[in-house]
């Protein structure tokens, strides 16, 4: 019994992973993400050359600085990773239903959850491989451009950033899969996922769009968006001198402060990270339950 659980899951996982890596969709995403990533890092590096000669954490600055207050690379990850997750997940379940492969698949001796688990895992692994490749590639370019190797601490921070990005990607994959379980039409699930992404982006940009007196209120609204949560986590991880949005609200302005240690950064980041993980788990749990309960019907 146990062996059939594992082997079914593994078989689905392998097939889905192979599908992702051989699809046009993935190739296009991969090229776009790499192209934009390179552009972001090159621009960031230009600013580092000009401005931050004496700074600490020079290598990390590569990912967070671009002269203005806008760290281009993190911006880019925050907005593009959702697209990657959505693109990989929006048709996972409903396309199989529509093409008639689902009933054939489920009539094989595997547990039903092997299908949804295998697909989700394959998506997460695809995102992980893509992002790892991207960060390593971009670090390589950065290293050549600024000529300063990362310190051990910087490497640890970069690793944590990578892990958080993968979790963030998993969240968007989960959202897309959720819609693909609920909606029969592929176009509907794609549009619904993109709507959530736009809405998340809107909440994230909320303070720019409306001027409100109550900053706490604004903050609460912003933090509903997973994009804000991710932004918060990554800026804290990549910029040891950064403070949380809450602290910024309290102190009013962003004052340069002393750097936090890796441990302290992780501690500060923890609640935000947990929120992202919880959202991911909730999305997946709902899709899982719905998928397991959906009856196979004739016609």
């Amino acid at each position: 019994m146990k062996s059939s659980t594992v082997s079914g899951l593994l078989t689905v996982f392998q097939k889905e992973l192979a599908d992702f890596f051989t699809s046009w969709r993935f190739l296009i995403l991969f090229l776009i993400v790499f192209a934009v990533g390179i552009v972001a890092i090159v621009i960031d590096a230009q600013y580092i050359r000009q401005e931050v000669f004496e700074a600490q954490f020079v290598f990390l600055k590569l990912f967070t600085t671009s002269g203005q207050a806008v760290p281009l690379f993190v911006w880019f990850i925050a907005f593009f990773v959702p697209i990657v997750g959505i693109m990989l997940g929006f048709d996972t379940i409903n396309s199989e239903r529509n093409s008639g492969t689902m009933s054939r698949l489920l009539s094989q001796p595997i547990y039903r959850d092997a299908v949804i688990n295998g697909k989700f895992l394959a998506g997460v692994v695809t995102i992980a491989i893509m992002l790892t490749g991207l960060v390593l590639f971009v670090s390589g370019i950065g290293l050549r451009m600024i000529g300063i190797p990362p310190t051990a601490e910087e490497a640890v921070r970069l690793m944590s950033f990578l892990i958080v990005s993968v979790i963030y990607g998993a969240f968007w994959l989960g959202i897309a899969m959720l819609f693909s379980v609920f909606f029969r039409r592929v176009a509907t699930s794609a549009l619904a996922s993109i709507a959530v992404w736009l809405f998340g982006g809107f909440l994230f940009l909320f303070p720019l769009l409306v001027q409100l007196e109550q900053e706490r209120f604004v903050l609460a609204i912003m933090l509903v968006s997973p994009i804000t949560l991710f932004w918060q986590v990554t800026t804290l991880l990549l910029d040891p001198t950064a403070r949380t949005l809450g602290q910024m609200v309290q102190s009013g302005v962003r004052v340069p402060t002393s750097a936090l240690s890796v441990g302290q950064s992780l501690l500060t980041v923890w609640p935000y990270l947990m929120s992202i993980i919880m959202l991911t788990v909730i999305c997946f749990a709902i899709s899982y339950i719905k998928f397991m309960r959906t009856e196979i019907r004739s016609t």
């Binding site: 019994m1 062996s3 059939s4 082997s7 079914g8 078989t11 689905v12 097939k15 599908d19 699809s23 093409s99 008639g100 492969t101 009933s103 054939r104 698949l105 489920l106 009539s107 094989q108 001796p109 595997i110 547990y111 009856e295 196979i296 019907r297 004739s298 016609t299």
Partner: protein, 310 residues
């Protein structure tokens, strides 16, 4: 219990939102039989198959395959039964071979066995040459044959074929039916084939079950069904002559077992208690009649439905 049937349902019932789709269905299929599952669209054929496969839970009643309860032990049931859904689909962008290999792997076969079984299955359905082509390039008939190969890969004891002939041309249909009959015989596989085309079922099935509105209205041999349905247990023979004379008609009427003769132009419709074709032919020849054709009437399933649900 003398011998365990391969397929058995006891008072199997299914309701969707208050509508009873399958109503206390009792079915028994023995090993090696090709069972034709007949019925109009929406009669509950597919739902019954889904319940037997453990893909849908019955509202009440029991479905068993080779003694395994389909609801409680779906994995065991799925291991020994193959299923071709009505709207069968494959991964269009993957090759024929890969699609079959995926099924084989899901059945936990070793990699060696996967390739062996896939090769064999493709051979049997005549798709070896298309093994490395994408499924998208196959014709409808080929895809249906691929679906049969997909079942063969698992070497099941029972195969459920849900309308395996929809959407293919007449030649393809015959080839498909012969293929099914051949496989069932060679592999001693029990086959349940659902269809709403009587003549297709006629060609290969040893026994027929007819279902309408979720109830089994007939279960038995095919010729029996035709006679019971239309002739009230009688045969109807249609005779075409070059010229019909009343002498000849009287002569036929006198044959022992003939119940009635209807005459319409050069056509005679003879109702009798048994197959009297030789006697009728003799009577015609004896009266110097010129026989053009003579056949036992077979009926479209629709006629039989009409008969059952007037």
């Amino acid at each position: 219990m003398s011998e365990q049937p391969v397929i058995e349902t006891i008072d199997l019932t299914k309701t969707y939102d208050g509508n009873t789709v399958v109503d206390r269905l009792n079915l028994r299929v023995e090993e090696g039989e090709i069972f034709g599952f007949l019925g109009p669209n929406g009669a509950g054929k597919t739902t019954t198959i889904l319940m037997l496969l453990g893909l849908t839970e019955p509202a009440s009643g029991i479905a068993r395959i080779c003694g395994y309860n389909s609801t409680r032990e779906p994995l065991k049931v799925k291991r020994i039964s193959g299923y071709v859904p009505e709207k069968v689909g494959f991964y269009e962008d993957l090759t024929t071979r890969y699609n079959l290999a995926y099924t084989a792997r899901l059945n936990g076969l070793s990699e060696e066995l996967v390739m062996k079984r896939v090769g064999e299955a493709l051979d049997i359905v005549g798709l070896s040459e298309r093994a490395n082509d994408r499924v998208a390039t196959l014709s409808r008939g080929m895809k249906q044959r691929l679906a049969i190969a997909d079942v063969l890969v698992k070497t099941p004891k029972v195969a459920f074929l849900d309308e395996p002939t929809t959407g293919i041309d007449p030649k393809g249909i015959n080839e498909m039916l012969d293929l099914i009959a051949m496989i069932a015989k060679e592999r001693r596989m029990t086959v349940i084939m659902s269809s709403h085309q009587l003549h297709q079922v006629q060609r290969i099935c040893s026994r027929v079950g007819m279902i309408a509105e979720g109830r089994m209205v007939f279960d038995g041999q095919l010729d029996q069904l035709e006679r019971e349905a239309l002739g009230g247990g009688r045969f109807k023979i249609e005779v075409q002559l070059v010229e019909t004379t009343s002498v000849l008609v009287d002569c036929i009427k006198r044959i022992d077992g003939v119940v009635g003769v209807e005459r319409s132009g050069e056509l005679l419709l003879i109702t009798c208690r048994e197959d009297l074709r030789p006697q009728i032919a003799k009577a015609i020849v004896d009266n110097d009649g010129l026989l053009v054709s003579m056949k036992i009437q077979s009926y479209a399933l629709e006629d039989i439905y009409m008969r059952y649900f007037k």
